[in-house]
């Protein structure tokens, strides 16, 4: 067992003593009483608040001697501003580039040496870092993660290399992926004021213009204890995890998280249409309707509608043979090769109900668009059957059992709920709410939210690819 940072932590305490910090700073805080939530499966989720404002969430599951350890920071693409898109994601890359004590690549090497697997992710709403490890190595990864949370450090030269990696990621994810590129365009016109309008990976031009200090400032600003949560699931004892978290994360000085300004999307009043042309064989269409989101479990008409919209989406596309399959992709005159629906339900920013489809050969995106809206209109007109309603509820309830199979997914769900400021038993509570949705409610939301005024339609128009064309010119500003 290596404890690379234990000495360093002791040294910090010594330094604090020398500068006369009151002794109580080193006195262990009285064991905080956790909030304990019993989940539907009988498992317990323990939530603690460290003195510096950091949240700790622990869910024991003793089936195997492994654990998932995650740090969630409530910062993502939506916390960026124009000209600085991609900061949260680029910073996530840089968190692997060292600290005061760890050189470039050392973090990954140490996790690997523990038998661990690790990665990180950034979305519009949050940034997450994780390690899957044998449970007896929990303290080791905590020490590493706490270190980089407060001491991440790298050279300008290191940044120059890594930002090129990020640009390759953008080329791979967006520029050579026509449907991703279309969604980037759709977001740009669906949202005018909401920061959801910018891509998480960042505009290429913003990546070209990004400076190392932009990232350093973003890091200082957002990586503060009050804006972060540690989530641990697996073969662990909550009280022990709490003690370890106090030791490694609790010593991070408290700093105020920056105030967030509301960036409310103005009401849309009229249909928005956008097209994107890219080399492809099949065209594609996506319809995004602005819908209410679930912000809390307090009763409200918006919350009821958000839940009913989720049921509506499952009735349309929740299983093989659901309405979109039957209505669009079957029969000799089928209009689509594929069709789908999704309701955003919850998130830090405004949510959408999306319908999408791939026209069958000889059919147009306009025909698919009409067919998708036709299926919703039919529900608005005729309602849904009790059998359909019961079916999607049964699937969700069974899904709650299957979810228990993955310790990592359990940690992931808890972290996401925390990041979105939802209660940690939201997974169970949403099921309870979904169970209560009636056919009349589904019919009502189908009638209420699918007009033109809150709709953005995005269409991918295929361009033939010239097989002999030279590659695109090198982007400006790239290094050789």
């Amino acid at each position: 067992m290596k404890h690379p940072l234990r000495l360093a932590v002791a040294a910090t305490f010594a330094a604090l003593l020398c500068t006369g910090v009151p002794v109580r700073a080193q006195t262990p805080a009285p064991a905080a009483a956790p909030t304990v939530i019993k989940t539907a499966s009988g498992a317990l989720v323990h939530r603690y608040q460290l003195a510096n404002g950091m949240t700790l969430i622990v869910k024991p599951d003793h089936r195997a001697p492994t654990a998932a350890h995650m740090v969630w920071v409530r910062v993502g693409g939506m916390d960026e501003v124009d000209g600085y898109s991609g900061l949260a994601h680029a910073l996530e890359h840089m968190l692997f580039k060292g600290t005061d004590k760890l050189g470039v690549g050392e973090f990954s090497k140490r996790v690997a040496a523990m038998g661990g697997r690790e990665n990180a992710f950034t979305t519009r709403d949050y940034t997450g870092y994780y390690q899957q490890i044998p449970s007896q190595r929990l303290e080791d990864v905590m020490a590493l993660e706490a270190d980089r949370f407060q001491h991440n450090k790298w050279s300008d030269d290191e940044f120059k290399r890594e930002i090129e990696v990020v640009k390759e990621e953008r080329r791979w994810r967006v520029e050579d992926n026509p449907r991703s590129a279309l969604y980037e365009v759709i977001s740009g016109v669906t949202y005018l004021a909401s920061p959801y309008r910018r891509p998480v990976v960042g505009w290429m031009n913003d990546l070209d213009a990004m400076k190392p200090d932009d990232l350093r400032e973003f890091y200082k600003r957002w990586y503060v204890p009050g804006n972060a949560a540690v989530v641990v699931a697996g073969d662990v004892d909550p009280q022990k995890v709490f003690q370890l978290a106090q030791k490694h994360y609790g010593s991070i000085p408290a700093r105020a998280a920056p105030a967030r300004k509301p960036q409310v999307e103005p009401a849309q009043a009229g249909i928005r249409r956008v097209e994107h042309k890219a080399p492809a064989e099949q065209s594609y269409v996506a319809l995004s309707f602005k819908v209410p989101q679930l912000r809390s479990f307090d009763a409200s008409p918006e919350a009821d509608d958000a839940v009913a919209l989720t049921v509506l989406s499952a009735v349309l596309d929740g299983y093989a043979g659901a309405r979109l399959d039957r209505g669009l992709t079957q029969g000799p005159d089928r209009v689509a090769d594929g069709a789908g629906s999704d309701n955003g339900l919850w998130g830090r920013g405004p949510q959408l109900f999306t319908l999408d489809g791939i026209p069958a050969p000889g059919k147009t995106t306009e025909q698919v668009e009409a067919a998708l809206r036709g299926e919703v209109a039919r529900i608005a007109r005729e309602g849904v059957s009790e059998a359909e309603l019961q079916r999607v509820k049964t699937q969700w309830i069974a899904g709650q059992v299957y979810k228990q199979d993955s310790v990592f997914n359990q940690a992931n769900e808890l972290g996401r709920l925390w990041a979105q400021e939802l209660p940690l038993d939201a997974g169970d509570r949403i099921i309870d709410r979904l169970k209560g949705v009636t056919a009349a409610q589904v019919q009502a939301v189908a009638a209420k939210y699918f007009g033109d005024d809150q709709l953005t339609i995005g269409v991918l128009r295929p361009l033939p690819r010239d097989p002999n064309a030279r590659p695109r010119a090198k982007p400006t500003g790239v290094r050789d």
Partner: protein, 450 residues
């Protein structure tokens, strides 16, 4: 995402943590039923659910050359309807989809190169499980293979193939497969033409030839005991023809070694060039299996800490991902090195990647790299089996390749005893850097043709 997920394709997870106390091995129970079916069971009682995988020697390696895709669509099309049998009415694709959703369960088939696989996941509430097993047994044995639905699915798949062929990554992967496998069935790709040659009579014939209890390897992980599992498997297979013993299937030829290096630079208008470098690798039964597993971990199988990722991504910022893997199966699967990079720097990335492989094959790993690889593989063993889903993958591989029942118990010891010399020798036996194929799609033409 910070980086791509670990490339562990073809690497069978397993073994128990030698140094970890109190990790009791979950025993694998194995028996043969009167039908000839082999059953492998791990009882995992904490969650009221069960996973079952039924596998047959009916992978794409058994596709006729002119009907590539047959194994895969024979398996997938079982979800498109069952015929009437006894007092049970026929169900079309939608009724079948509804029935599975009503049970909160799922069942479906697919095919890899070697195996045709059917997977069931159900709650173990007896009433639900009974119905799920009945429905699965019907879908497994009595698919209706409706001609009109097949015609539609053929169109959809063909359209998806045409779409995929507009992407540089697909074009590169197909060219690479063809270059590595030549005429071996591992190199077959379903095409619009091969699908057009497949009729429902082909689906029925392929199903009849391969889906028999005497050929079945059945893996079960979940909240069932041995008696329950035995009954469950009997019921799953009961509607198939009970032949007792099956005739042997025709042999499939082995993959030929490459005679010479090849470079295929395909012009393509894309933001990134896609690069694949490689050659045939090794079979799952190869005695060098463990040295090669450790060896590739160091070369390109360990995410950010591999040599390839370090040289291509970390030191030079040339690619988002750079990796290598072997895909051992019944025959030698490919050794594949892959990366994507800006078109004008593809030549540089290729040179670096080739140098990394050549240097590694010539000199082997360092002692430090050996220790790091073993630390990760041994230390992380428990992560390979910490869910029912992962256990099922392992048990199914043990069943398929006829590995010892204590395979998981000895896995870490097998890794532990691999020596540096064995890795160097095994890599040098399997890899010939001067005879690999290099496929680039979308590289800047002035620099790629090297």
């Amino acid at each position: 995402m910070h980086k791509i997920s670990f490339r562990l394709l073809g690497l069978l997870a397993a073994g128990f943590l030698a140094s970890a106390p109190a990790l009791a091995a979950l025993p694998i129970q194995n028996w043969k039923q009167a039908s000839g079916a082999q059953v492998y069971l791990v009882e995992s009682k904490t969650i009221p659910m069960v996973d079952v995988r039924i596998e047959f020697d009916g992978g794409s390696r058994r596709d006729p050359a002119t009907k590539s895709g047959l194994a895969s669509v024979s398996a997938a099309m079982t979800s498109k309807g069952v015929r009437a049998a006894g007092n049970q009415p026929a169900l079309d694709e939608n009724q079948l989809g509804e029935a599975w959703a009503d049970l909160g369960a799922g069942f479906g088939g697919d095919a890899s190169e070697d195996r045709m696989s059917f997977s069931l996941r159900s709650l173990t509430d007896p009433k639900l499980l009974d119905q799920a097993v009945l429905l699965a047994s019907r879908q497994l044995a009595e698919p209706s293979y409706p001609a009109d639905v097949w015609a539609r699915e053929r169109d959809r798949i063909s359209n998806a193939i045409k779409e995929a062929d507009t992407r540089p990554g697909t074009v590169a992967a197909k060219a690479f497969n063809k270059a590595v496998f030549g005429t071996h069935p591992y190199g077959y790709e379903p095409t619009v033409e091969s699908l057009a040659a497949i009729g429902v009579e082909d689906l029925r014939a392929f199903h009849a030839a391969h889906v028999m209890p005497c050929r079945a390897k059945v893996s079960v992980v979940g909240n069932v005991d041995r008696a329950q599992a035995d009954t469950l498997v009997q019921r799953l297979l009961a509607r198939l023809p009970q032949n007792g013993a099956c005739p042997a299937l025709p042999p499939v030829p082995e993959v030929s070694a490459l005679a010479a290096p090849a470079v295929n630079a395909i012009p393509f208008q894309s933001a990134q060039a896609h690069v694949f470098i490689g050659q045939p690798g090794y079979k799952r039964s190869d005695p060098d299996y463990f040295p090669l597993l450790v060896g590739n971990y160091i070369l390109g199988g360990s995410g950010l800490v591999s040599r390839l990722s370090d040289e291509v991504r970390e030191k030079r910022g040339l690619a988002y991902s750079a990796y290598s893997y072997f895909a051992p199966g019944m025959h030698a699967g490919a050794f594949t090195l892959g990366l994507q990079t800006r078109p004008d720097q593809a030549a540089q990335a290729i040179k670096i990647a080739r140098d990394v492989v050549a240097d590694y094959v010539a000199k082997g790993p360092t002692a430090e790299e050996m220790k790091a690889a073993k630390d990760n593989l041994i230390g992380g063993f428990a992560l390979r089996i910490d869910s029912n889903r992962k256990l099922l993958d392992n048990v199914a591989a043990i069943a398929w390749y006829g590995l010892p029942l204590n395979y998981l118990d000895t896995w870490t010891q097998q890794i532990e005893k691999v020596t540096l010399a064995e890795v160097r020798q095994a890599m040098a036996r399997k890899l010939q850097p001067d005879r690999m194929v290099t496929v680039t799609v979308g590289a800047a033409p002035t620099t790629a043709a090297r």
